[in-house]
């Protein structure tokens, strides 16, 4: 291609197209008008107009998590950029590859408190993997390519490129970004291959384990479908049980016998007790989050630990481990499987079968059992029915944050990766609905359901307009308990049921709300309504809000109160009075 001169906006569009981007989620404003003009002039990049920039980032996250590809966002300077911050922080905590282009006042005005100026790189520095302020159009192409590499490689994350308006207008030579996209970065070089010596030690330790457990997380999902396949293979040949974090659900099939369910604060009894009692813990792509470990000093006290993570800073951060392995999950899992098959180690079959017997006893407690009712809908039942009626479809689930999120993690069975999108690290209410829009854009024919709480849905419901504009048949399955349920639950546990500001007052009529947008609105009031409502929701080819009016008093169990250890779980409401939360626990969140 002959060398041509392009302006900054054209270069951005060209680079994105060459990098394989097909969709941008954005909102216009003065500082980015030149880019919007370029968007207008082409038809290879689809632009999705959101209704608030916060929604755009969550959409990009949903798009990215359901496809494994980069999610791209475009917002204007000042308020456009600041509105995007929550989403960036969310993507940072959950390691989601997002590229966010922000407009900026022209370079000569930076620092002058110009109209709609904000120090975007300053504000986003601690909540992005990296960010750039481009001061010269000549640097634009290089940094764009670099940013895409940084966002998508190693431990993925959000990257911001701040673009002063003059840079968007200035021209420079451009001859295709293809070569530059391959270069990578001069100082940032993530390690993907694990140390063979450590891998051999790990395989040896696993083979000698009497009470092993796999504890895996979002790193396996981020490492791609390959990693999940290999995880299944390794779990299969070692015969060890496996538990997944909230972020890891789907990395291993939930229907398999060896899966003990999710672990952590609202994890299953068997998963948490197996973690507590194990002698070898194999952590693949999880990060010993405080929601998972509970009281650190009591965490898996008798175990030797293996930790595989692509980010060296995740290793030995909260929990010291015996065998750290820095590398990509898929690569390390592949090496482990190969070595195991070569060595054909002899395992202590008797110890393993005793371990499984012990696990069976824990399982027999049926920790997810709940009181059935004929009059009110139990949220657990609603989710069980939702799973049963959608399991044969190609279904993607997103959630908001709260009790409904934990119930969804407990009761909806994920058998494949990339089907479960939830805000794990930041716990952002309002995430699920825009994320569902992003998922539906990427998978137009799939069934996409946002399992929501009524309070969370209100946080980003302006995006109804977006979903309607693009005719997206997203389903919003509201478990409506008229409370910020999770807040109410903590107030019951810790504050003698003083329900300070946790009632969802003045809610809209969700059926009429849907109808006002020309969408489908449905309501279930009794357990018998559930199946018809879910079936109608699935049959509808329009956006549907299903208002599932549930038991207002139901709480989410099992639960490990803050500051307690894995073997101090509360299994149900009856458990509460005897066990109190320690003072140290009270200060924890």
């Amino acid at each position: 291609m002959a060398k041509r001169k392009l302006n900054g906006s054209e270069i951005i569009i060209q680079c994105l197209i060459e990098a394989g981007v097909d969709t941008i989620f954005g909102y216009p404003g003065g500082a980015v008008l030149p880019i919007y003009d370029e968007i207008f002039k082409q038809n290879r990049l689809k632009h999705v107009l959101v209704r608030q920039e916060g929604g755009a980032v969550h959409m990009a996250e949903g798009y990215a998590r359901s496809t494994g590809k980069l999610g791209v966002v475009l917002v204007t300077s000042g308020p456009g950029a600041t509105n995007a911050v929550t989403g960036l922080a969310d993507a940072f905590m959950d390691s989601i590859p997002v590229l966010c282009l922000t407009g900026q006042v022209p370079t000569h005005l930076i620092g002058n408190d110009a109209f709609q100026e904000a120090d975007t790189t300053g504000i986003t520095r601690p909540c992005t993997k990296h960010n750039y302020l481009i001061k010269d159009v000549k640097e634009l192409e290089r940094y764009l390519c670099e940013a895409i590499f940084v966002a998508t490689s190693g431990r993925p994350g959000p990257v911001v490129i701040d673009l002063p308006k003059d840079v968007l207008i200035d021209e420079t030579r451009f001859d295709g970004a293809r070569e530059k996209l391959k270069i990578g970065h001069r100082s940032y070089k993530p390690r993907t291959k694990g140390d063979p010596k450590k891998i051999a030690e790990a395989v040896d330790l696993i083979s000698k384990a009497k009470r092993p457990i796999f504890y895996c997380g979002g790193g396996v999902i981020n490492s791609g479908v390959r990693a999940s396949k290999r995880l299944c293979e390794l779990v299969g040949i070692t015969g060890a049980p496996i538990t997944l974090t909230l972020m890891g659900l789907g990395a291993y099939p939930a229907n398999d016998e060896k899966f003990l369910g999710m672990l952590g604060m609202h994890g299953t009894y068997e998963a948490n007790l197996a973690m507590h009692g194990c002698d070898v813990m194999i952590n693949i792509g999880a990060r010993f989050d405080d929601r998972v470990t509970g009281l650190l000093s009591e965490f898996a006290p008798e175990s030797k630990k293996i930790h595989v993570d692509i980010d060296p800073s995740s290793i030995n951060k909260n929990v010291a481990v015996e065998i750290p392995i820095v590398g990509d999950c898929a690569s390390v899992l592949g090496d482990m499987i190969k070595l195991w098959r070569e060595k054909k180690p002899k395992q202590d079959k008797r110890a393993l079968s005793a371990w499984w017997k012990q696990i069976a006893k824990w399982r027999a407690r049926e920790c997810l059992k709940y009181n059935q009712s004929n009059d009110v809908i139990k949220p657990q039942l609603a989710l069980q029915r939702l799973y049963e009626l959608t399991k044969k479809r190609d279904t993607y689930i997103t959630t908001e944050v709260g009790q409904h999120q934990m119930w969804a993690a407990q009761f909806y069975k994920f058998n494949r990766p990339n089907r479960w999108m939830t805000s794990g690290g930041l716990g952002t209410m309002g995430y699920g609905f825009p994320a569902a829009i992003g998922v539906q854009i990427a998978h137009p024919r799939a069934t996409v359901i946002d399992i929501a709480g009524e309070a969370s849905f209100l946080m980003n419901m302006q995006e109804l307009s977006t979903a309607i504009q693009y005719r997206l048949p997203v389903n919003i399955f509201i478990l409506n308990n008229h409370y910020m349920g999770m807040v109410r639950q903590w107030q019951e546990l810790l504050y003698s049921s003083r329900y300070s500001e946790s009632y969802s007052e003045s809610l809209p009529d969700f059926v009429k709300l849907a109808e006002s947008y020309g969408a489908t609105g449905l309501r279930a009031l009794k357990p018998d309504d559930l199946d018809p409502v879910i079936n109608e929701m699935l049959a509808s080819d329009k956006l549907t809000i299903a208002d599932i009016v549930i038991d207002e008093t139901e709480n989410c169990f099992p639960m490990i109160p803050s500051g307690a250890s894995h073997n101090q779980m509360l299994l149900g409401p009856a458990d509460e009075p005897e066990k109190t939360v320690s003072e140290e626990g009270m200060v924890l969140v």
Binding site: R186, S187, P312, S313, A320
Partner: protein, 167 residues
């Protein structure tokens, strides 16, 4: 925390906008200590700067600090000079002392012992330039206290590993 250790860490970074803010933000955001921090460009052609940071924490925290620094995109290399063999450390300070008569003479005499140079002088003041290990500078400052110590500026520590091997 009793097992707190003091470590001097050298960090080679791209000399790009915001890189120092990134490093400092990392320390403040994650609650790590900075006892001293110095930075300057060391390779103009390659655009590389070297940061020298003195910090303290438990061995696990020190390991975290290094891993977190390494995670920053513009960071090329990290070296824990305290953990990786011997190193030499130097700091430079300019110290203003005000006084007359005997005190003035005494200040000069002590400066001589510490090999501090007077780089400015008026009828009733000196500015001393002193370089050396931080504790030597501390000692000098302590001695100047009763002699009219008026103002101090210190560069912070720069350090480099002994022997032929480079960073």
């Amino acid at each position: 925390m009793d097992n707190t250790e003091k470590h001097t860490i050298a960090v080679l970074v791209d000399n790009e906008a915001g890189v120092l803010a990134r490093v400092i933000g990392l320390f403040s955001g994650r609650g790590y200590n900075i006892e001293s921090l110095t930075v300057a460009e060391v390779d103009v052609q390659e655009g590389l700067s070297r940061i020298c940071v003195v910090t303290s924490g438990t061995p696990m925290v020190i390991e975290q600090i290094k891993a977190q620094l390494d995670r920053l995109v513009p960071v090329h290399k990290i070296s824990d000079l305290t953990a990786e063999g011997e190193s030499v450390e130097r700091e430079l300070a300019l110290i203003k002392v005000k006084g007359k008569g005997n005190k003035r003479v005494e200040a000069l005499r002590i400066a001589d012992i510490f090999r501090a140079r007077a780089i400015d002088s008026t009828n009733n003041s000196f500015i001393f330039e002193i370089s050396g290990k931080p504790d030597k500078i501390d000692a000098f400052i302590n001695l100047m206290q009763p002699l009219g110590l008026n103002e101090i500026t210190r560069t912070g520590v720069v350090a480099i590993a002994r022997g032929p091997k480079g960073l």
